[in-house]
Symmetry: C2
Subunit: 326 residues, 2 copies
Amino acid sequence: MANIIEVAKRAGVGIATVSRVINNSGYVKKETRERVEKVIAEIGYVPNEIARSMTLQRNNIIAFLLPNSIHRFFGELLYHVETVLYEQGYKLMVCSSSERLEKEIVYIDMLKKNRVDAIILLTNNDVEPYLDKRLPMVSFDRRFEGVPFVASDNYNGGVIAARHLLAVGCKHFMFIGDDAQGEQTAVETEVSKRRIGFFEELGKHGITDIINVEYPLGNYIYIPEDVHRTINLHREVDGIFCISDAVAAEVVKNIEKNGRRVPEDVKVIGYDGGESFLNLGKRITSINQPPRALADAIVELVQAQIRKETPGNRIVPVNLNVGETT
Amino acid sequence: MANIIEVAKRAGVGIATVSRVINNSGYVKKETRERVEKVIAEIGYVPNEIARSMTLQRNNIIAFLLPNSIHRFFGELLYHVETVLYEQGYKLMVCSSSERLEKEIVYIDMLKKNRVDAIILLTNNDVEPYLDKRLPMVSFDRRFEGVPFVASDNYNGGVIAARHLLAVGCKHFMFIGDDAQGEQTAVETEVSKRRIGFFEELGKHGITDIINVEYPLGNYIYIPEDVHRTINLHREVDGIFCISDAVAAEVVKNIEKNGRRVPEDVKVIGYDGGESFLNLGKRITSINQPPRALADAIVELVQAQIRKETPGNRIVPVNLNVGETT
DNA sequence: TTGTAAGCGTTATCAC
DNA sequence: GTGATAACGCTTACAA
């Protein structure tokens, strides 16, 4: 494939001039420019970005290390992150870890070798020892030493969920979440604040006997059988806050299968929102964490670091979206 | 950041030897190797893949140009494609077009500049004029001149859907799909064969008065209001085949909202399957096109072309997954 | 076994 | 305005 030298020869100019034309930088006489452009069109010359990255020591590639793009929220966040990066002139490399630390380690190593400009991290594993802190990094929903993070306002989300369930008349509460990860990893997740906000707000209303159902993080979709049993054990519960819409959906299904009605007998509220949520069955009442706003915040933190700044964390506001389950 | 020369100096060897150690190619005396490895570990040297790509004229990056990763099937296919590529030593660049031709054009140009090793295409737009046919390419579900494609056995899927609805006693049929794209693009989609297989199989059973609901391709998720009206107009219909599970979900919801029961009064079958389908409400009976198998086929065609072979198309078998809507 | 040197395709400095 | 030329960091003949 033709290179810049070929173009220069045919146009009877030096390669520096061709470079100036391609990047329209510096002074180039109009005629010269036109001559060069003509040759470029004729021989179908396409500048080689790899060589360009080589000299510039920067390739405009950013990596997103995440569990998968199957879970609706991840797929949606990925889409928005990629869209925002595109608008800013970056390319995105996806790295699905399938929640496996070994794979994350291999990926991080690969990304270092490939000299990506930055890494966006979404993981529950303790990848900290493998990170090169000199590289711009942003984490979503998790804290890593020296890495700024973006999260939705999880605490406030819990508060809003509590207030909403109270407002629609619930008396006995339950929280269901897969953020019980003490045994698996030391990573501090922002997500737990949903639970804390929920408990503290109910506490302010004198409610303290909240059933707290915790289970270890799995693949974010299926929930263990004994969680379902626990739900059925507590027939007095009439208000349930679930850590995600996916979990809420499972819970609603379970409750209806076991002869109680949603929302008449039990009200259920989830977390996530977004447009990917399929309208099959009931539209779930949910705390929305807007993926585009999250993506904007993530990319801003990435760019700030590329500019050698040291940005702080970013908390994105959430809002209540009332559906058919409360 | 340290380079190969630095390592060579410190180890007191030539750069070729360091290269041999890194890639463990060629002969290197055991002692020499150990000395070099020690230095590499000491100074934390990480080989530069950009420079490597430069020399090798190949970067092991493959691009996937698709509408988005929000639609459940796309997100799932993306995940599997990326997983398979990872297993084969490739990296994946995602390029979401949001179904917009302009964006696809910009992306294709960017990918040429970046010298990606191959492009995987999933689009309904006529991108053919912008493709560089010398580049390895594979298309999913669409035909482009000179580009091999992978598709599920759409025709057979239609046949299976017809047989299943017949088997469960349906008498009056409807097909609903967004593959009516004659006005928008000239691209031949494999997806239309779902409709053809369905019609032809019913025809074999003497059934020809099938209500055919076509609407223009939108964002794959929402379906136009008048489609819902048409459904309600034809209360005699008791068997509906929808072009995707997402559409089927909307249809089920609509029918139930309008006072008929699924599956008692009307049976609905969709297309896609996969694990991403949330269990909210009814589990949809569906023609499964296994995303991992599709991903395997796609990557095989990619690799064959990288090896300079000229592979044919690949049709992946589908299977019926009976849920709660038939 | 090992080292030297050419080449991959750019950008950018510095003369002219 | 424009053109040589030196990086950028690697792989791989070819020599030794």
